[in-house]
């Protein structure tokens, strides 16, 4: 390939549009995780939660045909899982890493079980209609940007809009201030009379809803079908997106876009070149993840109380 062909490929508007489409679930799940971690609760079960959400969303869509109903059902399911996580992490003060890993394994299994129970084993994979693209009148005609940003599905717009909303909430509101405090020094927050436990439960619930939406996105907006492994590591990447973003929504978006770009690029490359085995291309997002993370993790400061249960009378 010539240099100019490479440039054309890398800057292809279709590629960039695909990138944003693939970034949306990472943004949604990343923001969900970010809210939880800012409050001090670590949830490494994102992958499992997204799997459950994907299965529930797909099945509900298949049976009822309503997009809103499907998304709502998925979010309700992950809300339930999040509350369980919260109960262990906040009330019982269990080791959060362990609870999260259990959630991952459990969620992955549950998703595939649900699908099997409802659909059974079939030769033809059932499909549902995916979320339509909405062109924003006027803006969609803008060269490059119009194609990339303004001809997306509704959830992409929602994900993008959530980033500044959350950033504003964290920095400019009382609630955001308290949320950050809960993740840094819960005792300090407790001594000024704020209910740390309620705040953390709230954050976990909101996080669960967002992660549910991210999981629902995959069958509803991308594949139109469910298969085991549909989440494909995106839950883990969402965790990395939070670290990459240093617990800031804006930077988390940048991280999500970076990972999504490599993911989209891998689709494109698989189409245009036969020289590289597809397996190597599939590896690409993860290689990027590892390289980027190793570089960035140095000096990244997580919330100081992340993963630590709070107990008023303990001084350890």
């Amino acid at each position: 390939m010539s240099a100019s062909a490479v440039v054309t490929l890398l800057l292809d508007p279709e590629l960039w549009r695909l990138m944003l489409t693939m970034a949306a679930p990472l943004v949604l799940a990343g923001l969900g995780e970010l809210v939880m971690e800012r409050s001090g609760v670590l949830n490494v079960g994102v992958e499992g939660m997204m799997a459950v959400a994907a299965a529930v969303a797909f099945l509900t869509m298949l049976k009822t045909g309503t997009l809103l109903g499907a998304a709502a059902a998925a979010m309700a399911a992950t809300l339930g899982l999040a509350v369980v996580l919260g109960y262990f992490a906040i009330t019982l003060r269990s080791a959060q890493l362990t609870v999260g890993l259990c959630l991952f394994v459990f969620g992955t299994g549950l998703a595939s079980l649900l699908y099997r129970l409802v659909i059974g084993v079939t030769t033809a994979t059932p499909t549902v209609q995916t979320l339509p693209r909405l062109a924003v009148p006027g803006l969609a005609e803008v060269p490059f940007l119009g194609t990339v940003v303004f001809t997306q599905n509704a959830l992409v717009y929602l994900a993008l809009a959530l980033v500044p909303v959350l950033a504003f909430l964290l920095v400019e509101t009382s609630l955001g201030l308290r949320l950050r405090a809960a993740g840094e020094n819960p005792r300090a927050l407790d001594t000024v009379g704020v209910n740390v436990r309620a705040l953390r439960y709230g954050a976990v619930a909101v996080g669960g809803l967002l992660i549910g939406l991210a999981g629902a996105y995959l069958p509803l907006a991308v594949t139109g079908a469910y298969s085991d492994g549909i989440v494909g590591g995106r839950g883990w990447i969402a965790l990395m997106v939070v670290i990459f973003g240093r617990w800031q929504p804006g930077w988390a978006l940048v991280g999500a876009i970076l990972f999504a770009y490599t993911e989209a690029l891998q689709f494109k490359l698989a189409l245009v070149t036969k020289a590289v085995p597809p397996q190597v291309l599939l590896m690409l997002p993860y290689v990027v993840a590892i390289v980027v993370l190793v570089r960035l993790y140095q000096g990244a400061e997580p919330p100081r109380a992340l993963g630590l249960p709070y107990e008023r009378e303990s001084r350890l």
Partner: protein
């Protein structure tokens, strides 16, 4: 009750409060009574239960037994929220601050003024006015992590008062303040008390109690042993109440034997600070064998940076540091420790301790390199046994296996000091760098630590003593350096020690010719 509270009306009474943590009995039917408009001192040795009792009052700890009375009525305080509702505010011994948030945010959190938007500008005016009233100059926009301990203390006080209080508990508020700042604080408290505020004031500095408080309650081993009028008691009497015996004053440092062996040489050292300005600029001094060199200065003038540069925790941007004649400017901390350098950090919980590990394990840290006899393993039994002597000598209230975090503030410090002094015993360049080593220690332990430092110099080691306690410096040091805005502005021999003059130099006045 009607009319404004007068001096003799009872505002608060704690009655037979008991509290145990596992096997430790922290409080055994402790109690005392505070009047409206009174500054009431709470005294006692490290681990006597002062903080625990006040944590019960502020709702952080739940007492096993006992009652709290407010204005003659029983009060139920189960949560910090209840205490705030009863207008009780507490300034915690180990600050309850949120380091990445700004000073302003730390002050207003929980009481932001509006449920949704943070009105920083509007709140800032109120907080600034409050700060001005106390004569506190704190940069409200700076993140707390960037503030020195003295400024953090002020933020913590502002935070308590900002909520509106009738009873203000101050748990060792003056340990990190300069004498001038402490005086100013106490004077402001007196003004506020005359307007009806009741203050519970915890301190290990008896002169503050005698000079500024109305009454004092002494605690010993979880019990209250009595309440006395400050005007009717003496330092000796209070100390005897606290520990039941007399304490000998530290002997003055030994006459220094003339010895030109230099242990530490700091040559033209510059350390970068925040915002491009150097935190330490062109510092130059040396410490010889058997010498105690003091460093005086208002907190935040580069003490921490200079000390960390010497220890190797901070990069030096210019100049060199020599230990026993060896250039160690870029040498790792571990190698410096192996040479005999010992460090007592200022922020002991942050820099020095592993709260969830045992006293013995914490004592062993840093010494582990020196104690390893060949193999790859340490024997837990040996680690525990090694802790016996320090636990006894420093009168640490706890056992070798107690997790460090469970000790009282003063006892945690004893552990870290014991460890540092043990390191200095090993290398061939025995030099102790001590940053406010007696801060927060009770009278007896303070004397013990000072004697330990003097002993280091008697055994021909060196001591670099950075202290905000001028009396301590003048008592122990052979020479005092004065640090102002990162520069050493004076190097005074003991014949030139004069608190007033040093105070002047600390605030930037030029040295007298």
């Amino acid at each position: 009750m009607s009319g404004p509270p007068t001096r003799s009306t009872e505002r608060l009474r704690l009655e037979a409060i008991s509290k145990r943590f596992g096997a430790t009995i922290a409080l055994a039917e402790a109690g005392f009574e505070v009047r409206a408009g009174e500054i009431h001192a709470l005294l006692g040795e490290n681990g006597a239960g002062k903080t625990t009792l006040m944590n019960v009052l502020s709702g952080l700890y739940h007492a096993d037994a006992g009652r709290i009375w407010l204005d003659g009525r029983p009060a139920e305080i189960a949560e910090p929220r209840d205490a705030i509702r009863h207008r009780i505010g507490m300034v915690h011994q180990h600050f309850e601050l949120i380091p990445p948030l700004t000073a302003l945010e730390n002050v207003i959190i929980g009481q932001e003024g509006s449920t949704l938007l943070l009105r920083r500008e509007r709140q800032a005016r109120g907080v600034a006015a409050l700060a001005a009233r106390f004569g506190f100059e704190v940069d409200l926009r700076a993140p707390v992590a960037a503030l020195g301990l003295a400024d953090q203390q002020k933020v913590e006080i502002l935070k308590a008062i900002f909520r509106g209080v009738d009873i203000l508990i101050l748990d060792e508020p003056t340990t990190v303040l300069t004498p001038q700042e402490a005086d100013a604080l106490l004077r402001t408290l007196r003004t506020m008390a005359s307007e009806g505020l009741s203050v519970v004031f915890i301190s290990h500095k008896i002169h503050e109690v005698l000079g500024h408080c109305d009454r004092a309650t002494v605690m010993r081993a979880g019990r209250s042993v009595g309440t006395v009028d400050a005007s009717a008691t003496t330092e000796q009497a209070l100390v005897e109440m606290m520990i039941g015996e007399r304490v000998a004053r530290t002997a003055a440092p030994a006459e220094r034997e003339v010895d030109d062996t230099v242990l530490l040489r700091v040559d033209d050292v510059t350390v970068a600070g925040r915002g491009g300005l150097p935190a330490v600029s062109h510092a130059r001094f040396s410490i010889g064998r058997g010498e105690v060199v003091g460093l005086a200065g208002v907190d935040g003038n580069g003490q921490r940076e200079l000390v960390e540069a010497i220890v190797g925790l901070r990069r030096v941007t210019g100049g060199r540091v020599e230990l026993g004649g060896r250039n160690v400017t870029t040498t790792a901390v571990g190698d410096r420790l192996a040479q005999g350098l010992a460090y007592i950090p200022e922020d002991r919980l942050g820099d020095g301790a592993l709260p969830s590990m045992s006293v013995a394990e914490n004592l062993f840290l840093g010494v582990h390199r020196l104690a390893r006899g060949g193999g790859l393993t340490y024997r837990p039994a040996a680690i525990r046994a090694g802790a016996a002597a320090p636990v006894r000598d420093y009168a640490i209230r706890g056992t070798a296996t107690t997790p460090l975090g469970m000790l009282s503030g003063g006892n945690i410090q004893k552990v870290l000091i014991a460890r540092a002094l043990a390191v200095a015993g090993h290398g061939d360049t025995p030099l102790v760098v001590a940053h406010n080593p007696t801060r927060g220690l009770d009278v007896r332990t303070t004397e013990f630590v000072r004697r330990c430092l003097v002993d280091v110099s008697r055994r021909r080691g060196g001591v670099f003593l950075v202290s905000s306690d001028l009396d301590e410096l003048m008592q122990l040091a052979h020479r005092i350096l004065v640090l102002f805005r990162g520069a050493i502005v004076a190097d005074l021999p003991s014949t030139a020690f004069d608190a007033y003059e040093i105070g002047r130099l600390m605030t930037g006045a030029a040295a007298r010719a």
